[in-house]
């Protein structure tokens, strides 16, 4: 078995998050792998549909829940289209976990603010569940999730669950025009909602994921609230093939997204050339 050979996994559940986004729960077919597979929040993997190819996303489930992994993806290209066509019981491939992770151990005892736009909630959700499953280790937990429209909000069941928890402050928002008549959440872009939510920056960490434009306008808001750039985390994506630092295509200047990332601080991003 070489390092490019994936483990076999079976689709155990498929959940339609939005009209074009789906979550798959995957269970390892090899008992030993299922027992021993461990990862850290923020790591990614290479998912494959045999005959179509491989595709890179973060693991969207929490490391605290073992025996399976989940991924959420938008159907954009060849592999994600094939993944969408898989039925429960179909087999596919997975190799990983790769890359670095969110430094949750450093965040213990602190407040955490999760800010996610659209499908960007997938990598954040992994950390959210990790934190909520070990809730006593952390102080205030704030979740801000925005999407273009109500239909585009992902993990709706979980948003409801988080909203009902007394130990989570949840803000959901949709872009102006994306609301429905019975929409109870906020209307407005994520940066504005972050400003409104005004999470306290003292002893706090922010984890921000979403489209580049959202990140671009959210970072200044966080900094104004007092979050230092080295306490703001995000994850990057780039086209990858190997996931392990060999195929040579995911680098942004000197930094390999697959090896040095995918998790970076805003301070690290500011130092990178604008090639992503």
């Amino acid at each position: 078995m070489n390092v490019y050979q994936p483990w076999r996994v079976r689709v155990e559940e498929r959940i339609d998050e939005t009209p074009d986004t789906r979550t798959l729960r995957l269970r390892f077919l090899d008992e030993e792998v299922a027992r021993n597979f461990r990862f850290r929040a923020g790591q990614f993997g290479e998912y494959s549909v045999f005959g179509e190819g491989e595709c890179t996303f973060c693991i969207a489930s929490s490391p605290t829940r073992q025996g399976y992994i989940e991924c959420s993806f938008k159907t954009v290209g060849k592999v994600t289209t094939a993944m969408k066509d898989l039925e429960v019981g179909d087999e596919m491939g997975f190799r990983g976990p790769y890359g670095n992770h969110f430094p949750l151990d450093r965040m213990e005892g602190g407040n955490i603010v999760f800010i996610a736009g659209g499908i960007g909630l997938a990598p954040v959700r992994c950390v959210i569940w990790n934190v909520l499953d070990e809730r006593p280790k952390y102080r205030d937990v704030t979740i801000i999730h925005g999407a273009r429209s109500v239909a585009d909000l992902v993990y709706k069941r979980e948003l409801k669950e988080w909203g009902e928890r007394p130990d989570v402050r949840l803000w959901t928002t949709v872009d102006p025009g994306g609301e429905t008549p019975d929409w109870k959440g906020e209307v407005g872009f994520v940066p504005a909602i972050v400003q409104k939510a005004a999470p306290k920056a003292d002893n706090s960490w922010a984890i921000v994921c979403g489209p580049p434009i959202m990140i671009q306008y959210t970072l200044p808001v966080l900094e104004k609230l007092g979050f230092p750039p080295d306490r703001i985390y995000t994850t990057l994506e780039n086209r990858m093939k190997c996931g392990i630092g060999k195929c040579g295509r995911c680098n942004i200047g000197p930094v390999y997204v697959c090896k040095d990332g995918p998790v970076f601080t805003a301070a690290e991003l500011a130092r990178l050339p604008k090639e992503f």
């Binding site: 190819g53 290209g77 060849k78 289209t81």
Partner: protein, 290 residues
């Protein structure tokens, strides 16, 4: 040379163009150069080492060249045919470019060649080339030159191969194509490979496998030759660039012969002549159809 440099300088000074694409002396012989300042016009050269078909830079696949503004391009007769091809196929308008035509008596095989031009040293593709000066040009410079008689060795090789059995041809090509690494350099340098997205880069569905195995290589070279039917101007750049030294010109020559014999097509520097693959005649020969 003075004539060329003076013209380039004038075009830049007048503001007719913002850049002149020609050749300069590089570390390893002649090479393409974009002259953007009148003072740099003296970098331009033209001699038999200027083998590059600069029309390739006009292909719409090179968006970064748009940032240069209007460009004057130096063209030999074969390069002018490539420009005509781009105009014929609506990739460029005639008004977009200024063409500096260069009288040509053939080129050497390589930008680094040091020999004097002679019947022995001339690039094979120039043997039998009937064109001494491009008609598609806004300016014409250079001294009248004599050409060299054909047939080219490549043309002879096509005939030799045609005399073999299909199985022997199969073996010949498998041997040659085994050196293909699927870098697609042949496509990149080709002025007439102008597709925005190449069939070889399409993955949904994947018509041409990207692996450099026998199957993928054969599909690629069939595709490439087919797509160049009625387009190839026989500038030989594909063959010159190939890092495996594959005689790619044999394939395009074979196709050119078919197109010539059946449809009366010759590469032309007249953009108004219709392309042989975009047109048809009711009386086209069809002896091969049951």
């Amino acid at each position: 040379m003075t004539e060329l440099r003076d013209l380039a300088r004038r075009l830049l000074e007048e503001g007719t163009v913002q850049a002149v694409l020609g050749w300069e002396e590089g570390p390893r012989g002649a090479r393409p150069v974009f002259v953007r300042q009148p003072a740099e016009a003296d970098r331009l050269i033209f001699d038999p080492r200027c083998v590059h078909n600069l029309a390739a830079f006009l292909s719409p696949r090179r968006p970064h060249l748009k940032t240069l503004g209007r460009v004057a391009v130096c063209v030999k007769p074969c390069d002018a045919k490539a420009v005509a091809g781009l105009i014929r196929e609506s990739q460029r308008t005639r008004e977009e470019v200024v063409l500096i035509g260069l009288r040509c008596g053939g080129v050497l095989p390589d930008p680094e060649s040091r020999e004097a031009l002679s019947a022995e040293t001339v690039a094979d593709r120039c043997r039998g080339c009937p064109d001494r000066e491009p008609r598609l040009a806004d300016h014409l410079v250079g001294a009248p030159a004599e050409g060299f008689p054909g047939p080219s060795r490549r043309q002879q090789k096509v005939e030799e191969l045609l005399a073999l059995s299909p199985d022997d041809r199969w073996r010949f090509w498998q041997q040659e194509l085994s050196r293909c690494v699927r870098c697609h350099a042949c496509r990149q340098v080709c002025p007439l490979c102008f597709c925005d997205q190449c069939i070889a880069d399409k993955s949904r569905p994947r018509w041409v496998e990207s692996s450099a195995h026998g199957r993928g290589n054969l599909a690629w070279h069939i595709s490439r030759a087919m797509h160049l039917a009625g387009r190839c101007v026989d500038c030989g750049e594909c063959e010159r660039v190939c890092p495996g030294g594959i005689p790619l010109g044999l394939l395009t020559r074979r196709v050119a012969r078919t197109v010539g014999e059946r449809f009366g097509w010759r590469p032309s520097d007249d953009p108004a002549v219709p392309s042989p693959v975009g047109t048809w005649r009711p009386e086209d020969p069809q002896e091969f159809i049951l």
